[in-house]
């Protein structure tokens, strides 16, 4: 009961904080004071209290988009173990469901963007589709690296077999998986170098452009959903990098929260020191991540599991 409460509490409450940490890090690099740390919570709260207006040209898909994508990432968060080695919805083969829940949420965001009939939003959706199609092999190959030693496509088993005593050096494949997952994290959450979350130029937008026509509570769902998505993918990476105890407990919660905030700071640093890649270069970044994960998997298969 304790761990269930912790899991759901972390999943529901923590995500907007990560956005705040990223913004604070970027502000610190730029020498600004920046938005308050809890601004994302206020934004979501403000939007949830507003009314919504729907264009008459749209269908139920447009209204379903934000709801389904938020529900999908929340389910993904329930499938993935957070501060322990078990999750409320964990079952045998949940790794595949996790990946496809993320894909489902993305699909509905794109479908809602197409539903508006705006060529501008369609362009963003097409870019999102192209990039996520390239990010998916990287995600799956990294998941394969995690699952192979346990011979089981279940998060609880896979995380139980990660060699914590000498992480990174225990087997270099985990380093490849971590780097590849970090690239997936940046790409899936529309962060620099794939997409700039602050930009409002039509030439460069990917994620922002798809959600332009949503307003009120729907947009609140989208903001919150994208924060949850960042939180969930980062949680996967935290499990690869840090020895979260299998039984959880306060030590697990502390390690997990520290890892999440550390990753958010890292994302902020990457955003501050790197420029956005030109659009034709983005596929190369993602292919690179895929190839790195493939090399890691090759090394793991070749040398045998640790």
């Amino acid at each position: 009961m304790f761990s269930l409460g912790i899991h759901i509490g972390l999943l529901l409450v923590m995500p907007p904080l990560l956005i705040g940490v990223i913004n604070k890090t970027k502000a610190w690099f730029a020498g600004r004071l920046g938005l308050p740390l809890l601004q994302s919570y206020r934004d979501v709260w403000k939007l949830l209290r507003k009314g919504a207006i729907y264009s008459q040209a749209t269908t139920w898909l447009f209204r379903a988009g934000p709801i389904v994508s938020l529900a999908a990432v929340l389910c993904a968060g329930l499938v993935l173990p957070l501060a322990a080695n078990s999750s409320p919805l964990g079952f045998s083969g949940d790794v595949v469901v996790f990946a496809y829940l993320l894909a489902l949420g993305r699909f509905f965001t794109m479908a809602a963007a197409f539903d508006t009939g705006s060529s501008f939003e369609g362009m963003g959706a097409s870019r999102e589709a192209a990039f996520s199609a390239l990010a998916e092999p990287a995600l799956f190959l990294s998941l394969a690296i995690l699952c192979l030693p346990a011979r089981s496509a279940t998060f609880a088993d896979a995380f139980g077999r990660l060699p914590w005593t000498s992480w990174g050096f225990g087997h270099p494949a985990y380093l490849a998986a971590a780097l590849s997952l970090f690239a997936v994290l940046l790409a899936e959450n529309s962060r620099i170098p794939v997409d700039d979350p602050n930009t409002h130029l039509e030439l460069t937008m990917v994620h922002e452009v798809m959600v332009l026509d949503h307003g009120g509570p729907d947009f609140g769902f989208i903001l919150y959903g994208s924060a949850v998505k960042l939180f969930v993918i980062a949680a996967l990476l935290v499990h690869v990098l840090l020895p979260i105890p299998a039984s959880g407990g306060w030590r697990g919660v502390a390690l997990f929260c520290g890892g999440e905030i550390g990753l958010a700071i890292l994302v902020g640093v990457v955003e501050s020191v790197m420029a956005r890649l030109r659009l034709p270069r983005v596929p190369q970044f993602l292919i690179g991540a895929t190839v790195l994960a493939a090399v890691g998997l090759g090394a793991l298969l070749y040398r045998g599991a640790p």
């Binding site: 050096f169 270099p172 490849a176 190369q284 292919i287 190839v291 090399v295 090394a299 070749y302």
Partner: protein, 217 residues
């Protein structure tokens, strides 16, 4: 200690792939310098446990590789880039996306090669032979697909790095003088190439090498 060696080998392979993926010349040279640093640590990681027996060859190999591959050659190449005034590879013979995929296939091929090759002595870590071949083949790839002389030098360096990794299996047989000789050859080779790059850029105002093949005497 093989954990550290495997880690270094994977870093070397990742840097090779990043060289294939980079169009900016300074980026290529920087990655190649980092590769030199990782390679110079490799003998220590592999033979650090038996340092009392191999202290001299291991130390000379490490320091020599560090000095030549991570410091001198990158500086030479950076100078060549500055003087020839080129920034990036505009149009390689094969697009960068596609060459990354080819490189990945080559890495896969070298994993297969590692399983069938019979060595006189077992390698210190099983990843050593496939990674040596991977570096060699990816170096070849860079030599073939790039137009600019600087990146071709980087490809040549990667090729030699592959041989260096492979040489780690024979550290007990090969006298360290041979290793030092190879490093010296490499240095002289890059030096000559640097001069050649300067001459090419002075004559033709660019350092594309493809036109050289049409030269007649």
């Amino acid at each position: 200690m093989t954990g550290y060696a495997d880690f270094l080998l994977l870093v070397v392979a990742a840097l090779s792939l990043s060289i294939v993926a980079t169009s900016r010349l300074t980026g290529c040279v920087r990655a190649s310098a980092l590769q030199g640093v990782a390679l110079s640590l490799l003998p220590l990681a592999l033979w650090g446990g038996a340092l009392d027996r191999h202290a001299v060859p291991v130390a000379t190999m490490s320091l020599g590789a560090l000095a030549v591959k991570a410091v001198i050659i990158p500086l030479l190449l950076a100078r060549a880039i500055r003087e020839a005034n080129v920034r990036r590879e505009s149009e390689p013979f094969i697009s960068l996306h596609f060459s990354v995929l080819i490189a990945a296939a080559l890495v896969g091929f070298s994993f297969w090669l590692g399983t069938i090759l019979i060595l006189p002595k077992p390698a210190p870590t099983p990843l050593l032979v496939p990674m040596a071949f991977a570096n060699l083949l990816v170096g070849f790839l860079v030599l073939i697909v790039r137009r600019k002389a600087v990146t071709q030098v980087v490809g040549y360096l990667m090729l030699e790095n592959g041989i260096f990794i492979f040489g780690q299996t024979l550290v007990e047989e090969v006298p360290f003088a041979v290793e030092l000789g190879i490093l010296l050859d490499l240095l002289v080779g890059v030096f000559v190439m640097g001069i050649a790059i300067n001459h090419i850029s002075r004559e033709f105002e660019h350092i594309d090498t493809e036109l050289l093949s049409t030269l007649k005497d």
